[in-house]
Amino acid sequence: MNTIMLSHGSGGTQTNQLINDLFFKYFSNDILNQMNDAAQINIDFKKLAFTTDSFVVNPIFFAGGNIGKLAVCGTVNDLSVSGAKPLYLTSAFIIEEGFSMANLEIIVQSMAEEAKKSGVKIVAGDTKVVEKGNADGLYINTSGIGEIYKNVNINCANALPGDVVIVNGTLGDHGMTILCERNNLGFEGDLTSDCACLNTLVDCMLEAYNGIHVIRDATRGGVAAVLNEISDFSDVTIALEEILIPIKEEVKGAAEMLGLDPLYIANEGKLCALVPEAQANQVLSAMRTHPLGANAAIIGRVTEELGHRVYMNTVVGGKRLVDMPSGILLPRIC
């Protein structure tokens, strides 16, 4: 019997198979097929970005945020990395019977705070309550609409040889925090989710250079998944330099213990930008003036090699493939 597995929601190969083999089979159209973080649509001479995302994170509260903050940031980020100014959000709640009203208020408050900070309005909503046992506490869906800036054309098919790959800071913070909290792994140290709205950072990058080829937020599947998608859509080869990749000591340590690779771990406040080399430094300098880009770094480049794949020059001078993630992240035995 063919059933839905957890891996169908992990943002890797199986997620793509589900999208391609089922959703695209029935929903396929020119806008959806571009597979950007937000759909880019033209209405009355305005270019709009439109997206939706559902949030099912467990635990609902975690170091650095909660499901509500995540729900606003996630959708704001999908709009802004598409080169849009995020404008309006909707928010739908599916709540399990018995959920604490006080906790719900904390969550809604943090949604309001993030919305205010990022300049979006939550303009419509929906609430459903399901019987105890039929949901895991609380799920939130947010949809968002934004206006794409003039003279900006960001698309995951736009990467070109010579582009450099920039990230805005340390990788794997969110996923590692969740994994450790979910399993009470009790690592000491400062493991905190990077959950944040990136729209002001993206504004700052586009002000520095509005011709940025690609921006993606590196959520499920981590930077590895995003770069594989870019390499696929743009038909280019991307080479990463392991030595340049920023990873917090705590994340490195915990990932090491569990046998996981931070490149594949989810982020909620990290983006990947592909920028022509000539403009890379001006974009990087601009990013570093922003609090969410203080640790921005160039981590690789698009090479002249034929074919589409992502590989890494390792710290010890070897090479290895950085493949599309597959399955769910599972800790190893020893």
């Binding site: 019997m1 059933t3 839905i4 597995m5 957890l6 891996s7 190969t13 199986q14 198979q17 399993n183 792994l185 030595i243 000591e249 705590e250 490195k252 340590g253 915990a254 090491e256 213990m257 569990l258 046998g259 690779d261 794949r309 590989y311 890494m312 020059n313 390792t314 710290v315 010890v316 001078g317 070897g318 090479k319 290895r320 493939l321 493949d323 597959s326 399955g327 769910i328 599972l330 800790p331 190893r332 035995i333 020893c334």
Partner: protein, 362 residues
């Protein structure tokens, strides 16, 4: 975590590779026994930077890969029983049995929990007194002491609903089987630092004494591995069959006596079936009479005979280092991480998984 970056240093690595290139010797075959070594070697692209005369061969040191398919099939059957909670390390979840995997069973509703330590089962057992908890006790000397301690603790707590389906194995006997194999021409071994942390270096001295083959105990960071190779290649070139401990920051000559004491307290050494390799004398651990109340095989009255999966999977030869995954006709065609034929493709330490994930003609 401290001591990570130091052992991933570009500078040291370059020096070590230069060192390695300066040691003259003929073409040599070195087996890294441990799956964690295999993964690290691929993850850091170490094969690319070695001199061409040094040939690394991946060995049978992935505990999940050497567990017979009959074990997985029995685990799948047990997980479907009423009032059973199954607990397992993450690695086991994707392993293919005849009727799917534990992940698939979980999706279909079986209560299967991923644990980080068998000790987590004590809490599960306490919180679920009306359920029978079965821990899939797989692994080498690295995990067997934890199983033993958990059983000892369960007894102290008077828990009568926790059982262990054991398939623990120990490493030295299978290595003896490998060096006795006339088809394999091994000049030296990179020995598993994690296993040696428990059993020490003494159990590997037979390589040196009986077979004149050197071995180097080393860790899992790239600098550890390169340093281990420098020592090993030197020993081979000098025809010095010593067992060297290059992982002294973790491994003591006598290992961890306390951990071994727990193993001795709970287990008997028995013959064990290794997937693709066959029966290896005195290479498995089974609860002794004193602890047999924890043995799931006895408690559930399982008749359990070892067999492997068929269908053209060449894992056996891969586990013995006789062929590379790329020489298996199923590799990347019928056998992928999404649709694995053999466990080597989905275990986090499997050789096929390492080749699939990290290695392409670059």
């Amino acid at each position: 975590m401290k001591f990570v970056d130091e052992f991933r240093s570009n500078e040291y690595s370059k020096l070590l590779v230069e060192n390695l290139k300066s040691i003259t010797c003929n073409k040599i075959n070195i087996m890294e026994v441990c799956g964690s070594h295999t993964m690290a070697i691929f993850r850091y692209g170490i094969r690319d930077i070695l001199p061409p005369n040094v040939n690394l061969i991946s060995g049978p040191g992935c505990p999940v890969c050497v567990t017979p398919q009959s074990y997985i099939d029995t685990a799948l059957e047990l997980s479907s029983r009423k009032d059973v909670i199954m607990a397992s390390f993450g690695d086991m979840m994707k392993i293919p049995g005849r009727k799917g995997s534990l992940l698939k069973k979980k999706a279909e509703g079986a209560d299967i929990r991923i644990v980080y330590s068998p000790m987590d089962c004590l809490i599960i057992a306490q919180e679920n007194p009306s359920k029978q908890i079965i821990f899939l006790a797989v692994g080498f000397e690295t995990t067997a002491p934890m199983t033993a301690v958990t059983a000892i603790e369960a007894r102290k707590k008077g828990l009568s609903n926790l059982f262990f389906f054991t398939a623990h194995k120990i490493v030295p006997p299978v290595m003896e089987a490998l060096v006795n194999d006339p088809d394999l021409n091994l000049d030296g071994f990179l020995l598993p630092g994690n296993v040696c942390a428990i059993i020490g270096t003494e159990p590997f001295q037979f390589l040196s004494k009986n077979f004149m083959i050197p071995g180097v105990v080393t860790g899992f960071e790239p600098v550890d591995i390169l340093q281990g190779l420098v020592t090993l290649v030197s020993l081979i070139s000098q025809k010095d069959p010593r067992i060297s401990n290059d992982y002294k920051r973790i491994v003591r000559t006598d290992g961890n006596p306390k951990a071994r004491q727990y193993m001795d307290e709970a287990f008997n050494l028995v013959d064990s079936n290794w997937r693709g390799i066959g029966k290896v004398p005195k290479s498995g651990l089974e609860f002794n009479r004193e602890f047999e109340e924890f043995d799931a095989i006895k408690h559930f009255g399982i008749s359990y005979e070892a067999y492997d999966g068929g269908s053209g999977c060449r894992c056996g030869e891969i586990l013995k280092g006789k062929i590379k995954p790329t020489q298996c006709p199923l590799f990347k065609k019928l056998c992928t991480p999404e649709n694995p034929v053999g466990s080597c493709m989905v275990s986090s330490e499997g050789t096929c998984a390492a080749y699939f994930r990290y290695y392409k003609e670059l």
